[in-house]
Amino acid sequence: MGLAIAVVLTLITAVSVSLISAHFWWFPVDVATHGPAIDHLFTLTFIFTGAIFVLAQLGLAYLIWRYRDRGQGGKATYLHEPAMLQVTWTLIALILFVGLAFMGHRTWAHMHYTGAQPGALRIEVWGEQFAWYFRYPGPDGRFGPIHPSLMDDSMGNYLGLDRPHDQASKDDIVTATLGIPADRPVQLILRSKDVIHSFFVPELRMKQDLVPGMEMPIHFTATEDALNHDGGRYEIVCTQLCGMGHYKMRAFLQVMTEKKFEQWLKQEAAMQ
């Protein structure tokens, strides 16, 4: 029995490790400038946890096989607590784990401690049960105020803009697709009309909740390379349970060249 468990544990370890290192099921391409740092952190963490995983599982397998009761009588080693040994490995674990936490600090700081660069394209991302809307400020660079009482999907006033009266709203552009230019800093301001949603684009390595009553800014820059995959089109999915249609709450991110983007925005503006 001891041998059997040892073998099964070894097999599980071998299969898991080889499937992970084969990258057969793996992360999608990475199209944001902050992506490589995250992917690097992933790799480091994979190596770190992988080593512990193999050591612990194989160690367990070895102990089980080596110390199985062979029915030869005698007693087990009578041993309680070697204090030095315990202090040593507690300290090692402390240094390793807390060190790992600090390793991720720089990436985190880059993503969240500083705001978007000054000149970044500002876009509002709105979630509702179960759709996405995106608002561009238009030529004046200002978002018009929101009037919840005016929100009416059937009239096409998804965000409750008062275009006749609010000067800033007049040139606001509301779209169903998130179009962005490549290689230019973008700031998204996440807002929700009803419940909590979450904005997730796997290829951007980016996720943030949309909390009603709050404005959540996030920022990123899509790489030039983003134009080359799937025609620059990536799925935006909701990852925070938001009701019965949660699984089909989806929109698309379209990365374009600067020129195409200006054209597209003009087209969208014409349709308002």
């Binding site: 367990l60 087990a76 991720g104 929100m151 925070q240 019965m244």
Partner: protein, 586 residues
């Protein structure tokens, strides 16, 4: 027997003995059966969910009979899928993983291991069980109301859970009943833990110093303290949520919400407040389920390694550290929810810190086996399985603890894999290990080892087959709580989902082996001796099952620590805690 008419007196005796009993042994078994029932229901729900994910359009006529509204024509609706996952999570986390290791085994064994006649407050104990029972009843009643169970998952994030039936099916009566059930559960859990603390502090036998307490008792005691501190917070959160739903207040409802085109005339509330309150309870809750499991595993590993529990003291300190730190890491559930990023980083460091005592416990378990003479009973196999899945689940936690990585993995299948490994599997493996270990004491008969071993192999391999691939789904970015996979980048993952479904069906079916072994052995199993596993703690000094008064020869006197196995110079390879034999050295 059959012909004898049962008089009212006998009936009363039956009720007093098995239903409204104050005997901790009966209450412990009642809690155990409640958890077993909840686990079976939860498992069936997971079968339906897995089938739906693998083959979304396949018709299951049985389903439409069971729930015409939830599965018209035998095909699950998306909202009913969410209802099922809510009830699955709630049942498993509250009614199985919190109940079985703590209230189930704890009630049965704590007084026996302490050398006490009873729990300190038997009537409170009974009240605790019946409150929990009522909670389960209220929870399951949501299946029988017209709009079905709630769809918010076991975390019930506001405002989805707070704004009433306008946010979706199940959000009317169903959600309110869910809150009531959880509130009742909080009450039952707090009453129970008050009793655990009073018993551990006040009812130990002579000589049972804190250094002689088995690690199980330590774990139950520390868990009771954690329950006391955390469930009250959940109760407060439930109170506020209920007020938002029925009282018209706006604790969690922000201003200017427009749901399905209707402007909600409330305002000013903070949706994140619910998350803070919930996870202040929710993270300790994770350790509330796992601490008793750690105690049980330490106990069993030592017994079947025939070796003293390695690092008895470091185990206790680790459990204390885990308990203490668990109240300071709740924010790591909220890295993407819009918390201050500096706070987020502080939570990340604390979370990594809690991995240290967890790692120490793993060292201790490996150390216990090192140099031992391992006996591979079914119970031991599950204990070994526990160590394996605990390592795996713990390591995936190191990914989620780092905010930049959590940003990608949050709310994907990676999280499902992680929480099922570290909490679901580790917890159930400990329950299984404990069941095979203490069944002889609880029911006076032995379980079949052959069936038990078959059960172990199918469960252990099946568990990895189900949950290892879920990590890969997480790498691909597959979000959790999706009723169907309609996104382009998810469609290639359907074969993987089918594989998981098949693995889940087989592993689930293996649990029927356990259930049949359980009930067959209860009535037909071999009669159990007093001490079948040659254990040292006090429960093995009494008959199987123990007499009503526990220790018929007067209360025991304790001379030794709980894990005196392989003592050099002693006649046998173990020394019972109440044996006056002298131990040389040590």
């Amino acid at each position: 027997m059959g012909e004898v008419q049962r008089g009212p007196e006998q009936r009363k005796r039956f009720v007093g003995k098995y239903i409204f009993s104050v005997d901790h042994k009966v209450i412990g078994r009642q809690f155990y059966f409640l958890a077993l029932f909840a686990a079976l229901v939860a498992m069936l729900l997971s079968w339906v969910m897995r089938l739906h994910l693998g083959w979304p359009n396949v018709q299951l006529p049985l389903l439409s009979t069971l729930s015409p509204a939830g599965a018209p024509g035998g095909v699950l609706t998306p909202e009913y899928y969410l209802s099922l996952l809510t009830i699955h999570g709630t049942l498993m986390i509250f009614f199985v993983l919190t109940v079985a290791p703590q209230a189930g085994f704890g009630n049965f064994l704590l007084p026996l291991q302490l050398g006490a006649r009873e729990m300190a407050l038997p009537r409170l104990n009974m009240l605790s069980f019946w409150t929990t029972f009522a909670a389960l009843g209220v929870l399951l009643s949501t299946f029988f109301i017209s709009d079905g169970p709630p769809i918010t998952g076991w975390t019930a994030y506001a405002p989805l859970s707070a704004a009433g039936s306008i946010t979706g099916p199940g959000e009317g009566m169903g959600q309110s009943l869910w809150i009531l059930a959880i509130a009742l559960f909080c009450l039952g859990a707090v009453l129970g833990s008050v009793n655990f603390i009073a018993t551990t502090l006040g009812s130990r036998a002579r000589g049972m110093t804190l250094h002689c307490l088995p690690l199980t008792c330590w774990a139950w005691f520390l868990t009771a303290v954690m329950i006391l501190l955390s469930f009250a917070v959940l109760l407060a959160a439930c109170l506020l949520l209920m007020m938002d739903r029925v009282g018209g207040t706006s604790f969690f409802l922000p201003a200017g919400m427009v749901i399905s085109g209707d402007l909600i005339h409330r305002g000013g509330g903070a949706p994140l407040l619910w998350q803070h309150l919930f996870w202040f309870f929710g993270h300790p809750e994770v350790y509330i389920t796992i601490l008793p499991a750690m105690g049980i595993i330490s106990h069993i590993l030592s017994c079947f390694s025939r070796k003293p529990a390695f690092g008895y003291q470091s185990m206790i300190y680790s459990m204390m550290a885990i308990g203490f730190l668990s109240f300071m890491v709740w924010g790591h559930h909220m890295f993407v929810s819009g918390m201050n990023p500096y706070t987020g980083f502080a939570f990340a460091v604390l979370t990594m810190a809690i991995a240290v005592p967890s790692a120490v416990t793993i060292f201790d378990w490996l150390g216990t086996m090192w140099g031992g003479k391992l006996r591979f009973t079914t119970s031991m196999l599950f204990a070994i399985g526990f160590v394996s899945v605990f390592v795996t689940g713990g390591l995936s936690g190191l990914f989620l603890a780092q905010p930049p990585l959590d940003v990608y993995l949050h709310d994907t299948y990676f999280v499902i894999a992680h929480l099922h490994m570290i909490m679901g599997l580790a917890g159930t493996f400990a329950i299984f290990a404990g069941t095979y270990f203490w069944f002889p004491k609880m029911f006076g008969r032995m379980m079949s080892e052959l069936l038990g071993k078959m059960h172990f192999w199918l469960t252990f391999i099946g568990a990895y087959a189900i949950f290892m691939p879920m990590h890969f789904l997480g790498f691909e970015g597959n979000p959790r709580r999706y009723a169907a996979l309609t996104d382009n980048f998810l469609k290639p993952l359907i074969p993987m989902h089918r594989f998981i479904t098949i693995a889940a069906l087989i592993t689930g079916a293996a649990q029927l082996l356990f259930v049949s072994n359980f009930f067959w052995s209860m009535f037909r199993g071999e009669k159990a001796p007093d001490n079948p596993w040659e254990g040292t703690s006090l429960e093995w000094t009494v008959s199987s099952p123990p007499p009503p008064e526990n220790f018929s020869g007067g209360t025991p006197v304790i001379y030794h620590g709980p894990y005196e196995y392989g003592v050099p110079g002693s006649e046998k390879d173990y020394v019972m805690q109440n044996s006056p034999e002298k131990i040389a050295g040590g």
